[in-house]
């Protein structure tokens, strides 16, 4: 029974963690480039209870029933959200399923990956993320410098190459936005809609990049799916808590009624 209390407590904790993930997904329903997260639970066998030899045959089964699930893994959605047309000159969306922009932290030099293409130019003319903290990398990961004085219109072609339309009607090549192939399994969320790459190994560029200027990738969160998950998770929290209540009531009866010493 005590063991059951722990199991129910851990079950409620697991579902409460899931509620936290769902809340985060819903909060980020408008965040460009956001990928929803989901938990998978794994079954866990209860720890072996120390017991005298007499109870061996009970322990055999105690070892083999579950001791509440643990969080086996957290997945990042590998599917992109919808494409939204914004018309923004620095808004870029990647159509390749496995392609990511590479950005570098201006202070630490650490590299991250993202699908959120809502970029801007900082005061020095460097292409940066919307918050200004990270520099967008070109095909070799170096920052991209654009001198707007040289031209009027900025065109980003489908292969990521950036061109400025100069006054004389000619196009000046400015650089090329890098699109790199990273497997979603290798990625961990870092914040700022950025992902950190776990594995080592060489970073490969996508064979045929497909970058669209004037579009942004929307959040991959679907409110209907999240609400259904939310309903289930909150009901399961409730179920586990009810089980705690019930087990507590039974223990109470056991200790205070049955266990009461005669005449006390």
């Amino acid at each position: 029974m005590i063991n059951g209390l722990h199991t129910s407590g851990l079950g409620a904790l697991g579902q409460t963690t899931k509620l936290g993930i769902i809340s985060n997904n819903l909060a980020n329903i408008e965040t460009p480039g956001f990928r929803r997260e989901s938990l998978t639970f794994g079954e866990r066998l209860v720890e072996a209870l120390e017991a005298p030899a007499d109870y061996d045959h009970y322990n055999f089964w105690v070892d083999r029933y579950g001791g509440a699930p643990h969080i086996a893994s957290m997945q990042i959605d590998p599917n992109a959200g919808g494409l939204e047309e914004t018309g923004g000159v620095f808004d870029l969306a990647i159509r390749n399923d496995d392609g990511f922009f590479a950005v570098t932290d201006a202070t630490s030099g650490q590299r991250y990956f993202t699908r959120a293409g809502n970029f801007a130019l900082n005061a020095a003319g460097v292409l940066v993320t919307a918050d200004g903290k990270y520099r967008v990398g070109d095909a070799s990961g170096e920052p991209i410098q654009i001198d707007v004085a040289e031209g009027t219109d900025l065109i980003v072609a489908r292969d990521g190459s950036i061109r400025l339309l100069a006054g004389d009607g000619q196009f000046i090549d400015v650089g090329r936005v890098g699109v790199f192939r990273v497997s979603p399994d290798e990625l961990l969320k870092h914040g700022d809609t950025l992902l950190e790459r776990q594995g080592g190994g060489a970073l490969a560029a996508v064979d045929v990049p497909d970058v669209r200027q004037g579009y942004l990738e929307s959040s991959s969160v679907n409110p209907i799916d999240e609400m259904v998950q939310l309903i289930q998770a909150s009901r399961l929290v409730e179920s586990n808590l009810q089980m705690i209540r019930y087990q507590d009531a039974s223990l109470d009866r056991l200790i205070n009624n049955l266990g009461r010493l005669a005449g006390a």
């Binding site: 799916d225 259904v228 309903i231 289930q232 009901r235 179920s239 009810q242």
Partner: protein, 264 residues
Amino acid sequence: MALRALSIAATGGRAMMRKVDTISNNLANVSTTGYKRTRANFSDLLYQQVSRAGNLQTGGPPTGTFYGTGVRLVSTEKIHTQGALEVTERQFDLALDGEGFFRVTLPDGQIAYTRDGSFNVDADGNLVTSEGFLTDPQFTIPANTIGLTVDPTGRLFVITADAPEQPQELGQLQLTRFINPSGLDAVGDNLYLESAASGNPIDGVAGDRAQGFGSVRQGFLEESNVDVVTELVDLITAQRAFEINTNAIQAADEILQNVNNLRR
């Protein structure tokens, strides 16, 4: 999933959201020249068999027992019905009355197909689409042209300033048909690309009724084939279907609540 109803209703909600997305796109393109409306097709998902239907020999009840798992979006298809012809009286506006597509050469050399006949002339006198793509085959309008006539078979005649009495034939527009036009890849910009499903391009000329080609009408543009009334009725049914699915979700939620409250 605690109750199948939750996940099944979620599939219903998701499907209706996709249907509303499709209708939305049709309504957004109600004024797009040559636009063909999209229709979403749905199908039911796998059934989980508990017992198979049988007869006295095989045993089993006459209908079997099975659980459905919901609905999914099977395909979206373009409905290629003729759009109405709008009078513009502009000499470069061409509309196709009947089947067939205009051929266009994309900058990368690929051939694309379109029903949008709002042509223009570029700085070099070439006949181009509104995007600036050359037609296939290419036509160059002479610099001293004072009038252009396109006959219903797509033959172009120009009247030049130096020979106003004698129309000169520039050539004939080429059209293409497909066995399965709904199988063409819609790539935006009013363009379609050949796909594995569309069948091989069947090239020909306008007015060739034996081969199934329609006629070219100069001074007209083909309107979008979206019927606003049909779309609005579909929108109402999709929205109500979505609502009904959310009712199912609420009912499932209440059932789970009752289960949790079985023993307080």
